[in-house]
Symmetry: C2
Subunit: 390 residues, 2 copies
């Protein structure tokens, strides 16, 4: 007498979390230093000292009733103002606080946006490799997720496949750039072409096709690679942002949804997003972290550690003979496995206490994902193991 | 091209939040001291100093990577251990951490439990007066909510009406005791009778009928009134708890779901709850607050302020001639309105800058709810206004 889909979702669990939990358990047995866990995107860069300072300041100087009370459903005005100002300074936009809705991280934000777009027979496209949780989120919202095959080996977007997949039922395409798991940024050119295609098809279908930009990695790009702000390229873009990675606060569940007023039906869509969030019980993002954002929304991560890791791992893997997607961003590297069977490679690696995630989970077999948000020492000590697996 | 149910949910909004936001805006105009806002259950008791101490200790002595990282989906073991120990000490139970699932407050917890029980044609009963958000939560989960009329004027449970409403499709009855908005605790006798009825009907239907105990007010009871721990009375009880009120942390979104292993299908149901939570994007309760719980789950609120408010308001209203449900718990008082039209009374009160919530929102017309988590001074100054409205 329980919902079997929910049961399956609970029993099968997220493959990534399962591997990470195996890693944590195994670390208890053989020692943390002997497990090479490249599975989960928990930032290895600690939160900036300004974050702890802001929390201390709030505890010290703010009435606790104010610090910890319910906020309005869209979130504290001061936090939304700070976020709008930060975006406007960087992108030359004129975003106002009433286009922003604070959320408990990108996952529930995506659930709310999918719910807001869930018209009858709604279809949402995702580009492989993609975050596997899009599937249960779309299903729970009542949308069908259709996956576009990967653009191997560059991991941009196969627009020919997008064009084939678009139907009058397509309400949106969810994209994740900088991308997890490929570690690649969609170029301005790719995004402009995608925008042009969606504009054209939207006209033909008589309704907009929204881009849902899932972008918790926006601030994590290296070597001066441009990460375009997608609403400035394609107006019908809804952004789901999280501070999990950029402020190294993944467990604290804080981010925002940006629904531009100039998007088609922008105002109504914002209302529908708020309504969908309400139906899911997402009624207030954690208030302490909203107050922190009001003070810290402008902070940027110091990427030097990740960058050093990135170079060491990329060079080491290439030297060992692996083919690796060019890692421009985030803290992910997407590696082609010898023989092409990522599940088998993952098992072989596991026997050597090296944990990676098979690309199958992301709709892209033949690859494994490595999260290089680990210590440099671990990367260096893992390279001989990688070499032994090729 | 958006979901109209979600739009309506966003546009109509929660009546209580609307009133509270009106109150905040009005306070800007006439001064905070001149608005008598009895609408929203934001605790007026500040969080205990131990809470801020725990946060400071975590910032000072814990690796920020650990403090702010993703936890496992069920939540930190240390937090679940502290909660289990606290419950076991108080209720003589033998709850283990693997029966607990940490959540972002009672709202998303209820959504997850409704989702876990959402079999085809599932019906969930609620007892008026009830928390109005049960309705959108049930609808989003795909369950039908059926409301049992109120047991006026005692606000226990009309078991005759429950019996009439039970059908083979009934999967659960959601109860909220101590009750918002009535301020009444369901007695042990009421709960035992309810349990006996559900056991009998469950046997007849061939499946369990769960009690979903929504109990954020469990620790807020006065005059030594007993608040029974429902799983010890009826084994098929799932508890949704929140620390919003007991630790005065409503904005921080932290609580737990308890699915007893001895409940029918207990293990599978826990898994289904975890799966439903995952589908809703509720993948990790805020990690800092999980660490705080590991230290502070045993804290109890000092109720003396609320109790003083309760007595002042109760006595004042009775003196003015109002009929009031006996306020045993929480910080709510449920007041019968003269003339019987709560909406009209609410409007008349609003003109005098006195904000109350009509009972219609809770499925109980003819009453208004007052949250007495305000200052004693406000209560005293509001009494002449109440008197003028009778």
């Amino acid at each position: 007498m329980y919902n079997h889909t929910a049961y399956e979702m609970g029993a099968n669990r997220c493959a990534i979390r399962d591997l990470a939990e195996y890693g944590a358990a195994r670390a208890q047995v053989i020692g943390k230093e002997n497990i090479f866990d490249f599975t989960i995107g928990n930032p290895s860069l600690p939160a900036a000292p300004e974050i702890a300072d802001a929390v201390r300041d709030i505890l010290e100087n703010m009435d606790p009733l104010q610090a910890h009370s319910y906020t309005s459903a869209p979130g504290l005005l001061a936090a939304r103002q700070a976020i709008a100002q930060d975006l406007n300074c960087r992108y030359g936009t004129d975003i106002t606080p009433d286009e922003l809705f604070l959320g408990c991280g990108a996952s529930p934000e995506l659930c709310a946006v999918f719910g807001a777009l869930a018209v009858p027979d709604a279809e949402i496209l995702a580009i492989a490799p993609y975050f596997p949780e899009y599937q249960p989120f779309a299903q729970a919202a009542g949308c069908k997720l259709k996956v576009i095959p990967p653009d191997v080996p560059d991991f941009q977007i196969r627009l020919d496949e997008v064009e084939k997949a678009l139907t009058p039922n397509t309400v949106a395409i969810v994209i994740n750039s900088p991308n997890n798991p490929s570690g690649v940024v969609y170029t301005r050119q790719t995004l402009e072409k995608l925008g042009a295609l969606l504009t054209e098809k939207g006209k033909a279908f008589g309704h907009p096709i929204y881009i849902i930009a899932d972008e918790p990695y926006r601030e994590l790009a290296y070597d001066g690679v441009e990460v375009p702000f997608i609403p400035t390229i394609y107006k019908d873009t809804i952004v789901c942002y999280s501070y999990s990675k950029s402020l190294s606060l993944p467990g604290e569940r804080i981010g925002y949804i940006y629904v531009p007023r100039q998007a088609t039906d922008g105002g109504a869509l914002y209302t529908a997003v708020a309504g969908a969030a309400r139906s899911l019980g997402h009624i207030c993002a954690p208030s302490l972290w909203q107050h922190v954002l009001a003070r810290c929304a402008h902070l940027r991560p110091d990427l030097s550690d990740y960058d050093r890791n990135r170079k060491a791992l990329y060079e080491g893997l290439r030297e060992a003979g692996y083919a690796v997607a060019k890692p421009d961003d985030a803290f992910y590297m997407f590696v082609k496995v010898p023989g092409g069977d990522a599940e088998a490679f993952t098992k072989k690696a596991m026997e050597k206490d090296l944990l990676v995630v098979p690309g199958d989970s992301f709709g892209c077999p033949g690859y494994v994902r490595l999260c290089y948000c680990v210590s440099l020492d671990k990367i260096q000590r893992s390279l001989p193991i990688f070499a032994s697996l090729i």
